[in-house]
């Protein structure tokens, strides 16, 4: 039983390690100062997909990402770990999309893969933390969804069994596929790169990475099919253009402010016994503790 699996993955700025230069003076984000990484929970999702591929012979894992040409790195990284390939969805028509317009674009692109059994993605991306794209893709495709998955336990007889990790416990659910599954960070970590696959696929590119002139690997591009990562623009997918990008986004950003907190006048002290003794006395006298 071979499964056709599609992983949705996003290249994101690493918001967890934000330095002092991450914000510009006008309060907007200085994207250039933040390294671009594979969204962590999408990597957990990739691992779940690869495990299914290991378990069910004849399965394929393809990765779909939306972004500029450099986001093809996500597909290469996935191929190093065992994915068969994927596609980059790229174009300025997609820019400025909120989660709904993003989900619409992704759902149109997923249809281009043909018959898909399981779509997996991370629960949420660290640049937005919304957790909306997975369920919205499911709705757009008219499929059921299982969110907050920790493990895809089994796939049999047209049903998937999934363990979910919720705030207050776990749930085991059974659902028919095709289905969309979003994976938590608590799921198994993604396997590391396979050296042989790195050697083979590091040359895989999307056409725009060749940048027109002077193709880096002209001898292979177009000949070795595995090294050609698909790149789809708006013309390649069946879509209503008014539902993409800014015009397809019901939410608008009214304003952005950098965060500032009211600084208090704090009492400074050392770690000496005298200082800590007097602090404790003060807190006890004021009935804050004790």
């Amino acid at each position: 039983m071979g499964l056709n699996i599609v992983v949705l993955a996003k290249q994101v700025p690493d918001t967890r390690n934000v330095g002092k230069d991450a914000m510009k003076e006008d309060g907007t984000v200085n994207r250039a100062a933040l390294p671009a990484i594979f969204n962590p929970e999408d990597k957990n999702a990739l691992e779940q997909a690869l495990r299914l591929k290991d378990r069910y012979e004849g399965s394929t894992v393809r990765v779909l990402t939306m972004g500029p040409a450099r986001a093809a790195e996500i597909i290469r990284e996935s191929m190093y770990r065992g994915a068969d390939g994927g596609a980059l969805l790229s174009g300025r028509e997609f820019a400025g999309a909120d989660t709904l317009a993003t989900s619409y674009a992704l759902s149109c692109a997923i249809k281009k893969f043909g018959k898909v059994d399981i779509i997996v993605c991370g629960r949420q991306a660290i640049d937005g933390d919304t957790a909306q794209v997975g369920p919205q893709v499911a709705e757009k495709l008219g499929l059921p969804q299982v969110t907050y998955a920790e493990e895809i336990v089994a796939v049999e007889a047209g049903q998937v069994t999934v363990k979910r990790r919720l705030e207050k416990g776990t749930e085991l659910v059974k659902a028919p596929y095709p289905i969309v599954i979003t994976v938590n960070g608590s799921a198994a970590e993604c396997r590391s790169r396979n050296a042989k696959r790195v050697m083979r696929f590091k040359r895989a590119v999307v056409p725009s990475e060749l940048n027109g002139a002077e193709p880096k690997y002209p001898e292979v591009f177009g000949r070795d099919k595995a090294l050609c990562i698909d790149e789809w623009g708006v013309a390649d997918i069946d879509t209503k253009i008014e539902l993409l990008g800014l015009s397809g986004s019901p939410t608008k950003v009214k304003g952005i402010e950098s965060v500032s907190f009211q600084a208090k006048e704090s009492k400074r002290m050392t770690d000496s016994d005298e200082d800590i003794d007097s602090l404790m006395k003060e807190l006890i006298t004021k009935n804050i503790i004790g």
Binding site: V29, P144, L172, P176, K252, R268, G290
Partner: protein, 339 residues
């Protein structure tokens, strides 16, 4: 039409705290814009819901009672909301940013093509002028949320589409009864009219819920640790100190990511929001995403080796020193002085 509706998340026959918090906020917004506050609940047994929610000022309570609606599964609950919203056309719909609300909200917003903002930290009413068209909108819902790992705060609006949807995390809004005697109307929905049979395809075959593993949200004192605690073993110091103070232990995202503490103890934008009487931050640098979840604490003590740690700016007392040195001393002098 044009009312505010809150989706009531059910834990058995009990309405979740986050839903009551949203009713409190919803009541204020409804009064401000002059509309009704409505609520919708879906579960196997809703007999005890009326008494729980009317004191929060609910004008209309929609009830969908069917044993197939508990425990929560996505499709039936979203069909219910989608079809109900099409009929009653609310202007604002709110739900908790829980694993249920964050599963349900996006699905409903996608089906209705209405915008949804996740994890709002504040909701206000205000006007908006579209820069491109110059069109003015009165009385929109400002959905205010941190973005980019908490480094910025964005105000989001949905000018053209209804309902304006938002999710809010538990503990962010305060819950407050407006009137014990408040009486609203109950509308019992014909479940089969709203939910097609084909929606009951996902089955929950096992559920293991651990109720209230920790008491972080309501604890008056919290001892929280960050990356500066240094190790899982050093966290034991904090547990020991917390036990002395009858406090709970919390943590920053960095300490949780390092695997020293369980995720359910994480305080901050992507964790729990707390307002204890006393917050003792041990080895926490104070990234904005953490400050967002504890800045309203009564008294804040920061223990840090870095005198310029951002958290010191919001602290009432700053102790310059390492966690290993300071925490045992705090414990020692607490014991000595409290006798």
């Amino acid at each position: 039409m044009d009312n505010i509706i809150v989706y009531l998340e059910m834990e058995g026959t009990t309405v979740a705290d986050v839903s009551l918090e949203l009713l409190t906020k919803g009541r204020k917004l409804a009064t401000q814009i002059g509309c009704k506050l409505e609520a919708v609940a879906a579960a196997a047994d809703l007999s005890k819901v009326d008494a729980q929610v009317f004191p929060y000022g609910v004008d209309t309570l929609y009830k969908a009672e069917d044993k197939r609606l508990s425990p929560y599964t996505t499709l039936p609950h979203s069909s219910l909301l989608v079809n109900l919203f099409k009929e009653i056309k609310p202007q604002i719909a709110l739900m908790g940013a829980t694993s249920t609300g964050r599963d349900l909200g996006p699905r409903v917003s996608s089906a209705l093509f209405s915008g949804l903002t996740a994890d709002c930290t504040s909701l206000e009413i205000g006007d908006y002028t579209d820069n491109k068209s110059g069109k003015e909108y009165k009385g929109l819902l400002y959905q205010i949320r941190p973005a980019f790992g908490g480094n910025i705060v964005a105000t989001i609006v949905n000018p053209e589409h209804r309902p304006q949807m938002a999710t809010v995390r538990e503990g962010v809004m305060k819950k407050e009864i407006v009137d014990e005697a408040y009486k609203g109307e109950v509308v019992n929905l014909d479940v089969n009219k709203y939910i097609p049979e084909t929606d009951y395809v996902v089955s929950v075959i096992d559920r293991q819920m651990e109720s209230g593993k920790n008491n972080l949200k309501s604890s008056p004192i919290i001892v929280a640790g960050g990356y500066g605690v240094g190790s899982k073993e050093n966290f034991d110091l904090l547990y020991e100190f917390a036990k002395e103070l009858h406090a709970e232990v919390g943590a920053s995202r960095a300490a949780v990511d390092a695997g020293w503490v369980d995720h359910d103890r994480q305080i901050g934008q992507t964790g729990v929001t707390v307002r204890p009487k006393l917050y003792i931050a041990c080895g926490i640098s104070g990234q904005i995403q953490h400050l967002a979840g504890m800045q309203e604490s009564g008294i804040i003590i920061s223990v840090n080796t870095d005198p310029d740690a951002p958290i010191n700016a919001v602290a009432d007392y700053v102790i310059n020193g390492s966690v290993e040195t300071v925490v045992p001393k705090l414990m020692k002098y607490f014991k000595k002085n409290s006798k």
